[in-house]
Symmetry: C2
Subunit: 170 residues, 2 copies
DNA sequence: CGGATTAGCTAGTAAAACTAGCAAACCGGG
DNA sequence: CCCGGTTTGCTAGTTTTACTAGCTAATCCG
């Protein structure tokens, strides 16, 4: 699938060359990674009848659940960057599929609280957990220094990216 | 938009705590960045009448062009991981928009060669270049050491991710 | 209290992917 | 040489999924 993306090896191959080449290498590696991740999500998603955004939303909800946080519709909306209407339909889709439950919030009667079902934990969980675990193994091989560098870099890049092309849905 | 992703600040805030916390911080930062990038691509794309995959394809073609390689329909198909039918329509869309030209291949008469037009270079270029430039500025502030660390990490992660989804959860 | 804002929903529309299936060109064994 | 199998790109019709517009109910705040 993405195995045919020829440019991928060049960044690694050049990973120790001239000073100007570095910056583009990083960008290219980042870009290649993004493509690989999207492809992975597509594989995983279609394998269990979910779209890319459905999967992202589900992971988001599971992550929140694991962290003891409840998730609301608006959170998903903001996380995915789609409209609130799309989010409604997406959540109904996940509910009908038996992955989540929607209960009215106890504190805000306009809002809903989203819970992942046992199905989502047991069926999706392993699937995502496997990915998560393999990725964790990679990150845990990093030194403290390296981890800090990478985290700082990614946060910087996120802020940069957030400022490109301003638009506000809903 | 993604500025409201509440979990985002935690990775940065914790970026100096325990050694085990680092690994998850890196993963979280990576996730958050991915979401931000996808949102950015969505914004940029709709701002110039192109979808996410259109933009990815165009960048792929421009990259190939810059590297002296010609692009065929099948290459785009494999790169994006979509069906050949979708690729056909996508390319026709880009052609009608004046971003690419499709010429019959000289060596294989079934195949076509895709060329980016001056419009794509001059019109899309700046748009993408702006993003690229801003991101470049970020990457260029890195030291050699940091750049190497990040590139190595991203490449490792890509390899990990490439192996996910070719397996069965049950 | 009363206007403004926020959360979620419905309805209808548009974009973009999919499947199925086709014609032309290419490749390779007999 | 030639005939079956494969590859490339295409059309047609369908499905998925996000969008816009606009609504109701709840909450916030001056």
């Amino acid at each position: 699938m993405t195995d045919s993306f020829d440019s991928s090896e060049s960044a690694e191959a050049r990973a120790g060359s001239g000073p100007e080449a570095r910056a583009t290498d990083v960008l290219e590696a980042l870009h290649v990674y993004s493509a690989a991740e999207a492809a992975m999500r597509r594989r995983t998603g279609t394998a269990m009848g979910l779209g890319e955004n459905d999967l992202l939303a589900l992971r988001f909800i599971l992550d929140n659940h694991a962290g003891g946080r409840t998730t609301a519709s608006k959170d998903v909306t903001r996380y995915l960057g789609i409209s609130s209407a799309s989010t409604t339909v997406l959540l109904h889709r996940l509910e009908k599929g038996g992955f989540i439950e929607r209960r009215p919030s106890s504190t805000d009667r306009r809002s809903i609280e989203i819970f992942a079902t046992a199905t989502a934990e047991g069926d999706t969980g392993p699937m995502l957990a496997l990915a998560q675990e393999q990725m964790s193994m990679t990150t845990e091989s990093l030194t403290v220094e390296e981890a800090r560098t990478i985290t700082k870099f990614l946060t910087m890049m996120r802020k940069t990216v957030d400022q490109i092309g301003h638009r506000r849905p809903n």
